[in-house]
């Protein structure tokens, strides 16, 4: 009986794996004369495909950490999504509040990834660190943006219309992001609060889906 069950699982996995959707993220870096990005990490979670016929497909255990130091992390392979006419893709930039109160988790949510606050339990939704050059002087900036308690939630849900079911490319324009904020006024944000909310709002505005 166990053997039959294992065989069925194996077979269905092989069949389902044949249906793979690639969701890629592309980072646009700013002009290195003005900004140098040294660290970029960002959680993408709750990926969901919506189809023209109204159906939905939600990725299971959907937590992905994009990390500039790991280029392969920018390519997310989702198995099992049906090959129907795709209407839109939605996901969270960051982690939802339930994830922040659930206790220890592994994979990309492992605290060893350096994206978890210990003293104020919760995930850092995105981390951007680097230098900015102003009047020939080099200064540092550090943004650790997180927080799930009202009124300072920093997770942002996005939805984009898309018509390419096999390969979806989403651009994150850090050049635009750095230009939108006054980094000299606010070079360090390391805890939940108003400033983190401001950054989260600006960050979500630089995500765009590529239309081929």
């Amino acid at each position: 009986m166990k053997f039959v069950l294992t065989f069925c699982i194996l077979l269905s996995t092989i069949v389902l794996n044949a249906q793979q959707t690639e969701v890629s993220f592309k980072l646009v870096l700013p002009d290195s004369n003005n900004f140098v990005i040294k660290t970029f990490r960002c959680y993408i979670s709750e990926i969901c495909f919506k189809y023209a016929n109204g159906d939905e497909f939600k990725e299971q255990n959907s937590f992905h950490l994009l990390d500039l130091e790991k280029p392969e992390s920018f390519q997310i392979t989702i198995s099992g999504a049906p090959k129907k006419e795709l209407a839109s893709i939605s996901f969270n930039i960051g982690t939802d509040s339930l994830t922040n109160v659930t206790g220890i988790m592994d994979g990309d949510l492992d605290p060893i990834k350096g994206m978890y606050w210990t003293w104020n339990s919760g995930y850092i939704n995105f981390k951007i660190e680097g230098d900015f050059i102003m009047e020939s002087q080099t200064n540092n900036f550090e943004y650790h943006v997180g927080g799930y308690l009202a009124p300072f939630q920093t997770v942002r849900k996005v939805e984009y219309n898309t018509i390419h079911p096999e390969a979806i490319v989403i651009t994150i324009d850090l050049s635009d992001f750095m230009n939108k904020i006054d980094v000299s006024e606010m070079p360090v944000v390391m805890s939940p609060g108003n400033n983190a909310v401001v950054l989260a709002d600006k960050f979500v505005s630089v995500f765009h889906v590529e239309e081929k």
């Binding site: 922040n100 109160v101 659930t102 206790g103 220890i104 988790m105 592994d106 492992d110 605290p111 060893i112 978890y116 210990t118 003293w119 104020n120 339990s121 919760g122 308690l149 300072f152 939940p192 609060g193 108003n194």
Partner: protein
């Protein structure tokens, strides 16, 4: 004939496995017993099923200074069993290289019923708590990766982790789950008060009167049987000049959370001096005097329960203290199951 024997063998094996797993789950259940008439714990045991192996591993880790950067500080350094798993006689604790912290070490009692941890409730899940002292520069000053490397570098630890989780590779998840299996099991429910409630013993006249006063003046926040609630309250303590601790506000940035702190349990309070988030009161008597007529009732965001002086007579104060002493649970303080253990 051969086929029939094979099927019989398979059947016996399946039934045997089912039977054994049933037995095992029974012993897991008996590892954490909710005392009669107590509320259900907050901790979700379904994601971290208790086992003897997991508990013993957590206990060894609790007492192992190898977790700290220089191998001198263990959890037990600030959480001593005999004094309610706190750092008695220290207003704030000291950790690695004698570095001083900023807050009084809380007791580790009945944590399964707490929804948040730390005086400011900054930690929202028991499993995540050990990350704090491990990485705090004044406590253990270590990196999580170093801890995992240390544990993975020990064949004995790997064997213990295998026994507990079926995986000899030590990762963050299993490390924290093991620690939690120990800390969540620290249950204190056998004080004189508990025995009186169960009809096994009787209060003295003093304790009885003290109990009456307690129910009148203290129980709304220090609610039996846990003797705390999962809430943040201000008891009007003026901000201290050294740490300038603003309590819950530091976490939420909500103004009305200024100077609010987690309500701590009063169980074993006789042995857990000094008192308050910064240990400013050395004696329980001092705490009583403060609540009696020391609170500035104009304090912003003061708990509504504390808007009036208590006006206790000297005898009332003695009786109330007598009652508080009845919350001492020597079974818990000297329970060998929670005492020092090391790798066999």
């Amino acid at each position: 004939m051969w086929k029939k024997n094979n099927i019989q063998l398979l059947l016996i094996t399946v039934v045997g496995i089912f039977f054994l797993s049933f037995i095992r789950s029974k012993s897991e259940q008996s590892l954490f017993i909710v005392p009669a008439k107590w509320p259900e714990p907050v901790y979700d045991f379904s994601k971290n099923k208790l086992s003897k192996e997991g508990f013993e591993l957590g206990r060894i880790l609790f007492y192992d200074p190898g977790i700290s950067r220089d191998k001198t500080i263990s959890c037990a350094s600030c959480h001593l069993q005999y004094t309610g798993f706190t750092h008695v006689d220290h207003n704030v604790s000291h950790g690695i290289e004698d570095r001083k912290g900023t807050r009084n070490s809380p007791v580790l009692i009945n944590l399964a019923w707490n929804s948040t941890f730390h005086w400011d409730g900054g930690v929202n899940h028991l499993e995540m708590q050990p990350l704090n002292p491990i990485q705090h520069q004044a406590e253990m000053d270590n990196k999580l990766q170093n801890v995992l490397d240390y544990l993975n570098g020990s064949l004995k630890y790997k064997a213990l982790f295998f026994d507990a989780f079926g995986d000899s590779t030590v990762n963050t998840k299993n490390f924290l789950k093991a620690m939690t299996q120990f800390t969540v099991s620290l249950v204190s429910s056998n004080s004189k008060y508990d025995k009186v409630m169960r009809g096994e013993e009787k209060f003295t006249t003093q304790e009885k009167n003290g109990h009456k006063l307690f129910k009148q003046h203290c129980n709304s926040c220090h609610k039996a049987p846990l003797f705390n609630i999962n809430s943040f309250k201000s008891n009007g303590l003026p901000i201290d000049s050294v740490y300038k601790d603003v309590g819950r506000f530091a976490i939420t940035h909500v103004p009305s959370d200024s100077m609010l702190f987690r309500v701590p349990t009063l169980r074993n309070i006789q042995h857990t001096m000094p008192y308050m988030h910064d240990g400013r009161f050395k004696k329980l008597k001092d705490v009583l005097e403060y609540y009696n007529d020391g609170i500035d009732h104009q304090t912003r965001y003061l708990s509504t329960e504390l808007r009036r002086d208590l006006n206790l007579s000297d005898n009332d104060k003695k009786d109330l203290l007598a009652f508080l002493y009845s919350l001492t649970d020597y079974t818990f303080l000297y329970d060998k199951r929670y005492s020092y253990s090391k790798i066999p």
